[in-house]
């Protein structure tokens, strides 16, 4: 339909967030800001053991506390019609809804207290004073015997082999065989998980931050035993998601069940420490990488094995080893995965799931291999540059990685980097190190739908149930929609964030702009086609007879493409046709044929400079330059923010984040922001993003890839490599700590 549309007047502009003012002034209503009449406050009681059974809860004491209204325990909790262990959708995981008294991880809900006030419910929760029959928890990467995962679903990565890895090992003239570990990390969106559940008969309205709004309705409905149309989710604003808000969790379900049981609306908002348990996390990994090279420094084999923790009752294993697929041209490729069942909550997708952990280890191992071979790490990557997807031999839909390397290296000043470590110092005597890593993230697309309406007054209305987690979807998607209707941004009304709108798919996989945006584009184009139909068939229109193919929509008017002076406004066309709205529908997905034809990824190159004190080993990332090629950039301001946010997350991964489990209790002992560290402003110094131009005719109609997650990949390795380059100490666990460098000194 490109003939009927001039695309790009809003798209490509660095428009500021349309909801920015509402958010910074507090006018935006997040889920927990809703207070329906008769509201009860719920507080869930977290298990303080990680394995065993609850033997007693002092319900009498809790109920006697003034203001406590009800206590849900396995003794009185209503059954969940769909059960907590069924899988109504792709992203379903078993959750705890007080269906029995077993404890499978610390912080698991073991009761829910409802009060007239939050304080009453909180105190009631304390008074329950649970007694347990506790067993020794199994924790860590050696907690139980690992089991192979076989590739039969989300979170169950299998084994992928291309070529003959054993022959690749045998053929190698030089090789590295290294093992890296990454810790458990917890999504900690600024807005903790929250819900307000309000039943009306057998219809329930949920105010709930959610990354998969329409899909989740069906899933909730399934568990609750009601039709999908009886669930309404309102999710206009999210204070971050990071993958955690795709998954249905036990505490939220309990709030819904409690509302049904009491006949009153119920609000539940998790405390920060409660975010460390029932709402997903990134499992710990141990990754062994074996790389072999021949005389020409070309890789003969890339062999990546990953072991990751999952819970005792559900399987979500980081697909870390898959990070080695799709990137470097290697004679043979092998990715294998194992899970280890431990007494923690179930992991789940966390920003760049699989890729973040896998890339961290892969990019460090590549650096080790380059040093072993005596060549520059960038040159080593270029020597092994894949022109077609390794293994599958598919062409890439587009791949401007070479330009990313070149532009990033140029801006960073990579040339002249000494190969050996511990060669550079600054004027204050601090050790200086430079490292780099390649960034890679798949460019998927989910099925999505949208509706666009041209109104009699010439304005537009567009609708899709998209989620804005803070990334700016409201803005970028509206820009696409405005262009598709040939209207300026301020003449469209953009409705989103509610399940009564068309399904926009999942805000995840870095695919939301491509998917929801693609649907909006299709819907707008469809509406314009109908409008053009009306105009070109109407003898009274100046456009009469120009035919569909010859009309362009621009600034609220249709123009004949071969004669710009022949034009008419949307409003006039609609008025003469009787004043009825003109509606368009969009329904997009990637066809299996398209998916088969090309390998589709966003690419990037990240360069890091670190400074390290030679005695005290304090580390600081002084410069980060990331160059990314991610197809069409709809909004450079938002895209750069996403990429920067990803790179800061990479810094966090490399130097800060780690959940510390107590080996005896299984509790996480640093479950707050005083103890669970993420970078502060002072940890982020020079941070620069370059977006490399990339036209992609294959990835989707608009040529959009994703920018949400790729920034983490590449960055972790770049920083780890820079620390090695500064100090000569190779730390093979993340986060890298002062004590690791001390030990190596």
């Amino acid at each position: 339909m490109s003939e009927t549309l001039r695309f790009g007047s809003s798209s490509g502009q660095p428009t500021t967030r349309r909801d920015g003012i509402a958010k910074v002034t507090g006018a935006a209503t997040f889920a927990a800001d809703n207070h329906p009449d008769g509201l009860l406050y719920a507080v869930y009681v977290p298990a303080t053991i990680a394995r065993g059974t609850v033997t007693h809860l002092d319900v009498t004491a809790a109920k006697a506390h003034p203001g406590v209204v009800e206590v849900l325990t396995p003794d009185n909790c209503p059954p969940l019609p769909g059960g907590p262990d069924t899988k109504p959708f792709r992203f379903s995981f078993s959750f705890e809804a007080l269906q029995d008294n077993t404890v499978r991880y610390a912080n698991q809900p073991i009761a829910l207290v409802l009060g007239e006030t939050f304080e009453a419910a909180t105190e009631g929760a304390k008074l329950l004073n649970p007694q347990y029959n506790a067993l020794q928890p199994r924790l860590g990467l050696d907690g139980t015997t690992p089991f192979p995962t076989n590739g039969d679903g989300f979170g169950k990565p299998g084994t992928t082999v291309h070529g003959d890895p054993d022959a690749g090992h045998a053929a190698a003239l030089q090789a590295v065989d290294v093992t890296y570990e990454t810790p458990a990390q917890y999504h900690n969106a600024m807005e903790t998980h929250a819900i307000v559940a309000d039943w009306d008969g057998d219809h329930v309205t949920l105010d709930l931050p959610n990354q998969a709004i329409v899909m989740s309705c069906a899933a909730y409905a399934h568990h609750l035993g009601i039709p999908a149309e009886n669930v309404t989710i309102r999710s206009p604003y999210l204070g971050g998601g990071f993958g955690s808000k795709v998954i249905i969790n036990g505490p939220q379900m309990l709030a819904i069940m409690a509302a049904r049981m009491t006949g009153r609306p119920v609000k539940l908002m998790l405390r920060r420490d409660q975010m460390f348990g029932p709402t997903g996390h990134r499992g710990a990994t141990r990754q062994r990488l074996r790389i072999g090279i021949g005389a020409d420094h070309r890789m003969t084999v890339l062999d990546h094995d990953s072991r990751a923790t999952t819970s005792s009752f559900e399987t979500f294993v980081e697909s870390a080893a898959n990070a080695s697929q799709g990137l470097y041209a290697s004679g043979a490729l092998r990715s294998t995965h194992q899970g280890v069942r431990i007494d923690s909550g179930t992991p789940g997708p966390m920003r760049a799931p699989g890729e973040a952990t896998g890339s961290a280890a892969l990019e460090c191992a590549m650096d080790e291999m380059a040093f072993e071979a005596g060549i520059d790490p960038l040159e080593f990557r270029l020597k092994n540059y894949a022109e077609r997807e390794p293994g599958t031999d598919k062409p890439y839909s587009s791949k401007a990685l070479r330009q990313c390397y070149a532009q990033g290296a140029e801006r960073f000043g990579w040339a002249g980097r000494p190969l050996a470590p511990r060669q550079m110092k600054d004027a204050d005597g601090l050790l200086v190190g430079w490292g780099m890593g390649t960034a890679l993230f798949a460019a998927p697309m989910f099925a999505a739908q949208a509706r666009a309406v041209l109104r009699p007054d010439g304005t537009g209305l567009v609708e899709t149930a998209a989620s804005d987690m803070g990334q700016g979807a409201w803005t970028a998607l509206a820009q696409i929609a405005a262009d598709s209707l040939g209207l300026p941004l301020d003449r469209i009304e953009f409705r989103s964030g509610s399940s009564d709108l068309p399904d926009a798919g999942v805000a995840g996989g870095s695919a939301h702009t491509a998917s929801a945006g693609g649907a909006l584009h299709a819907a707008g184009t469809d509406a314009i086609r109908h409008l053009a139909d009306i105009a070109t068939k109407d003898p009274a229109s100046p456009l009469f007879g120009t035919g569909n193919a010859g009309v362009i929509a621009r600034a609220g008017r249709l123009h004949a493409s071969d004669d710009d002076s022949r034009s008419e406004s949307f409003a006039d066309i609609i008025a003469r046709a009787g004043g009825a709205e003109v509606e368009g529908k969009g329904n997009v997905s990637r066809s299996p044929e398209a998916a088969e034809a090309h390998a589709m990824y966003s690419h990037g190159a990240v360069f890091a400079e670190v400074k390290v004190d030679p005695d005290l080993f304090q580390m600081r990332v002084t410069r980060l330059v990331g160059a990314f090629a991610a197809g069409r950039i709809i909004n450079p301001r938002l895209a750069e923010s996403q990429l920067m946010g990803g790179m800061i997350w990479g810094t966090s991964f490399a130097l800060h984040e780690e959940a510390k489990f107590d080996a005896r209790s299984g509790r996480i002992m640093n479950a707050d922001f005083a103890g669970y560290h993420i970078p502060v402003n002072a940890d982020v110094q020079g941070l620069e993003v370059i977006t490399v131009h990339e036209d992609d005719p294959y990835v989707n109609a608009l040529g959009i890839k994703g920018v949400g997650e790729i920034g983490i990949t590449g960055t972790v390795g770049a920083i780890g490599n820079a620390i090695w380059h500064a100090t000569g100490t190779r730390v093979r666990r993340f986060p890298i700590r002062i004590q690791d460098l001390l030990a190596g000194s």
């Binding site: 107590d662 209790s665 002992m669 001390l742």
Partner: protein, 347 residues
């Protein structure tokens, strides 16, 4: 939260009279309220002292000593130009602590009395002798990065987390208090207790005793041209010290005529090391001397868990702090906390 009484007396005597077992004084609340939220502390009465008169000033007394009222906020003290000029390492320590918001709320007395950051102390479900005498100590064999390497006992290995207390210790600060028994002075050196067999007896304060002020002696300004506070941690800001050191020197004719050295993050109290100070007297400042002083400072250090690295790190930190002090207090005021990343380090 449990129900508790809240009172806000307007005189010191009323505040003390209101105290009863199970009551807690409330300063900025940045520590007390957090612990009430986790359930580690459950006071029956909270006595808000922020309206007490006469204890919110920085003043110079006739004898030349400096008196800081307990209600002076951490950020106000750090950014008071005269104070920062006279006691630069105290200002550095304050500015290196917590975050801007917390420093705006935190009071002087609250900082002195902030509780350990031992995770097992903060978690009411863990066994902790400090919180509950005789309960045991879950920190043994637990996560120990912020635990002691000096002065700990089998009963408790926790550290005092305050940055402020470290330079105050080096400068012979005195704590002024008033309790049911009347007023008295307590040397900061005697204020925090080592755990021994009774870690719950954290300080020299008697039940109900209130901190009114801290005094720094007149001669504490003598080292102002050569004093630094150095804090070492993984994160650049908003993190407690792994280890820290306050170093103050007086130099005469190129030789050290007086030296003060205290370490933070290593023990249940700020750790003053007279032997190391003595070793430096009359000596020419230099890396080798400071290394030897640091060796002496860490004599007797023993890991209390998997934290042996802290012994080495504390040595290095002490030596570096001494070197920074010898190099001179930076001119810039209010002082930024000393940082290995130089003056560009912002917090």
């Amino acid at each position: 939260m449990n129900l508790f009484d809240y009172i806000r007396p307007t005189s010191v005597s009323d505040a003390i009279a209101a105290w009863q077992p199970g009551a807690a004084y409330l300063g900025g609340g940045t520590n007390l309220v957090d612990l009430m939220k986790t359930g580690a502390l459950r006071p029956g009465t909270v006595i808000d002292i922020t309206r007490l008169p006469g204890v919110d000033r920085i003043e110079t007394l006739p004898n030349g000593s400096t008196r800081i009222g307990t209600l002076v906020r951490n950020s106000d003290l750090a950014h008071d130009p005269d104070f920062a000029m006279a006691f630069p390492m105290v200002a550095e320590a304050l500015a290196s602590g917590a975050s801007g918001q917390l420093r705006n709320a935190a009071t002087l007395g609250g900082n002195l009395l902030q509780r350990t950051r031992c995770a097992y102390f903060q978690d009411p479900h863990s066994a902790c002798n400090r919180r509950f005498p005789g309960a045991g100590c879950d920190a043994r064999n637990g996560d120990s990065d912020n635990h002691a390497i000096l002065g700990w006992s089998d009963a408790c290995t926790a550290t005092n987390p305050s940055d402020l207390c470290v330079p105050l210790m080096a400068l012979d600060a005195v704590v002024e208090t008033q309790g049911p028994q009347g007023k008295r002075d307590i040397a900061l050196a005697d204020f925090h207790h080592l755990p021994g067999a009774a870690p719950h007896q954290e300080t020299a304060l008697e039940p109900g005793e209130l901190i009114l002020a801290i005094r720094l002696p007149a001669n504490a300004t003598a080292s102002r041209h050569n004093s630094r506070y150095l804090k070492v941690r993984e994160r650049t800001s908003f993190a407690f010290a792994l280890v820290s050191a306050a170093a103050a020197l007086q130099l005469e004719n190129g030789r050290i005529s007086a030296a003060c050295l205290a370490l933070g993050g290593v023990a249940a109290k700020p750790w003053r090391v007279p032997a190391a100070e003595k070793l430096m007297l009359g000596q020419i400042p230099g890396a080798d001397l400071f290394r030897r002083a640091a060796e002496v400072a860490l004599e007797g250090a023993v890991p209390s868990g998997d934290n042996g690295f802290k012994i080495d790190l504390a040595r290095r930190t002490a030596a570096r702090a001494l070197a920074l002090a010898a190099a001179g207090t930076p001119a810039q005021m209010p002082a930024l906390p000393a940082s290995v990343f130089g003056e560009s380090a912002h917090v």
